[in-house]
């Protein structure tokens, strides 16, 4: 351009980068005062930067994000279910808790053997627990895979799983002889259990990431 030292142009760029040392800045300032060519050069640099900066900011098209999402590789199904769970943490905790509770409770009764709550006043005959006439059994009775005949009285609840109350009449008739609740669990129980197990397993598979 002229006879001016190259270093002056370098100082201009240092200045424009915002990284000029004070002594370089002094040299540059003094030189620009005396040299019209370099002054013009410097002004042109500043002007071109200002022009580039002046071009307005542009925005992505409005449907940009949807387009990106549409073109992503397919999301795995389990993720959307997981996301649902993570967005509904209370419901998730409650449902998982109740599934676990039900499953663990039910698993206690999963055998086929006859069993009955231990009570010295109960008489056992051929898979049937008998509350003898004139006797009062104190405490709750649970009979599993067998029946119960209540000739006496029960001071507590009676639960029969996979069995029934055999008094020659409907168990409702013996309600007066039992102070607590009478519960019979048969087909309905099994159906529920089946359902629970099913839900439980698929939930576990989903949470542990196993595919079906």
């Amino acid at each position: 351009m002229n006879r001016c030292p190259e270093i002056i142009t370098e100082y201009m760029h240092e200045y424009l980068d915002g990284e000029i040392l004070p002594e370089h800045k002094n040299i540059l300032t003094v030189h620009l005062k005396f040299c019209a060519d370099c002054r013009q050069h410097f002004q042109e640099l500043e002007k071109s930067i200002a022009l580039v900066k002046s071009i307005s900011h542009v925005q992505a098209p409005t449907d940009f994000t949807q387009k990106v999402l549409m073109n992503l590789p397919k999301e795995k199904k389990k993720v959307s279910v997981k996301r649902w769970f993570s967005r509904h943490p209370v419901l998730t905790a409650a449902s998982i808790f109740s599934i676990f509770m039900a499953a663990s409770l039910l698993s206690h009764w999963s055998g086929d053997d006859f069993s009955v709550t231990k009570n010295p006043d109960l008489v056992i005959e051929n898979n049937t627990a008998i509350v003898p006439e004139g006797e009062t059994v104190t405490g709750d009775i649970v009979v599993k895979n067998g029946d119960i005949r209540i000739d006496g009285k029960v001071d507590g609840s009676v639960t029969v799983i996979n069995g029934e109350i055999v008094n020659g009449e409907s168990y409702m008739a013996s309600a007066g002889q039992v102070t607590g609740d009478i519960v019979e669990i048969n087909e309905a129980f099994e159906w529920l259990w089946y359902q629970m197990k099913h839900i439980f397993e698929s939930t576990m598979n989903m949470l542990t990431g196993k595919e079906k």
């Binding site: 370098e10 760029h13 424009l16 980068d17 050069h41 042109e44 640099l45 002007k47 071109s48 930067i49 022009l51 580039v52 900066k53 002046s54 071009i55 307005s56 900011h57 542009v58 925005q59 992505a60 098209p61 940009f64 994000t65 387009k67 990106v68 999402l69 073109n71 992503l72 590789p73 999301e75 795995k76 993720v79 997981k82 996301r83």
Partner: protein, 187 residues
């Protein structure tokens, strides 16, 4: 902001595309603008910025979560732009539509930069002229100029985006400024 981005990225890594949607919303304008100023037309800019986000999603495992996400994203976008510029054939380039000027090509833009100095130049025309002058820069200067003066990024971040030593970035900015000075001084 960084914490928010980190938490979204952890979700994206689990495959959550909605979380990625939030990331796209945050950065789409910046990335689109970078591509638009690098490439000079909105169709290509949209193509390339779409691809940048899709690549970021596919390669999200490779992103180092302790670094700045935008740096990584800009790097993907810048590299895609530079690739596209290199693949462009000159004739296609001249026929390409320019910055918000539907129907106009670079051919019809050329007289605009030859306006007499005292003639009133509208703001839109001026923007087109500047955009065209940026597009005339070789891509290595164009990238640093766009990152520095349009995206307004610090030199250190530009050096990370381009994976170049900071000294090289400075040299390119200096040369880019000198080229622009020669192109723009008569406006």
């Amino acid at each position: 902001m960084d914490e928010f981005v980190k938490s979204r990225i952890k979700q994206v890594r689990k495959g959550d595309q909605n979380a990625f949607g939030e990331i796209v919303e945050l950065y789409k304008d910046k990335v689109f603008q970078l591509c638009f100023r690098m490439l000079g037309n909105s169709h290509e800019a949209e193509d390339i910025s779409q691809e940048a986000f899709i690549r970021a999603y596919i390669n999200i495992e490779r992103y180092n979560i302790d670094r700045k996400f935008s740096t990584w994203l800009y790097r993907i976008a810048t590299n895609l732009c530079i690739d596209r510029i290199r693949k462009k054939k000159p004739d296609y380039y001249l026929d390409a539509e320019v910055a918000g000027t539907e129907g106009l090509t670079l051919y019809s833009q050329i007289p605009a930069s030859q306006l007499a100095p005292d003639e009133e130049v509208s703001k839109i025309e001026l923007q087109e002229i500047i955009q065209n002058e940026i597009l005339k820069l070789p891509e290595k200067y164009r990238a640093v100029i766009v990152l520095k003066y349009i995206e307004e990024l610090p030199l250190l971040e530009i050096s990370k985006i381009l994976d170049l030593p900071i000294g090289t970035v400075k040299t390119r900015i200096h040369r880019g400024r000198e080229a622009l000075r020669k192109q723009l001084r008569h406006i």
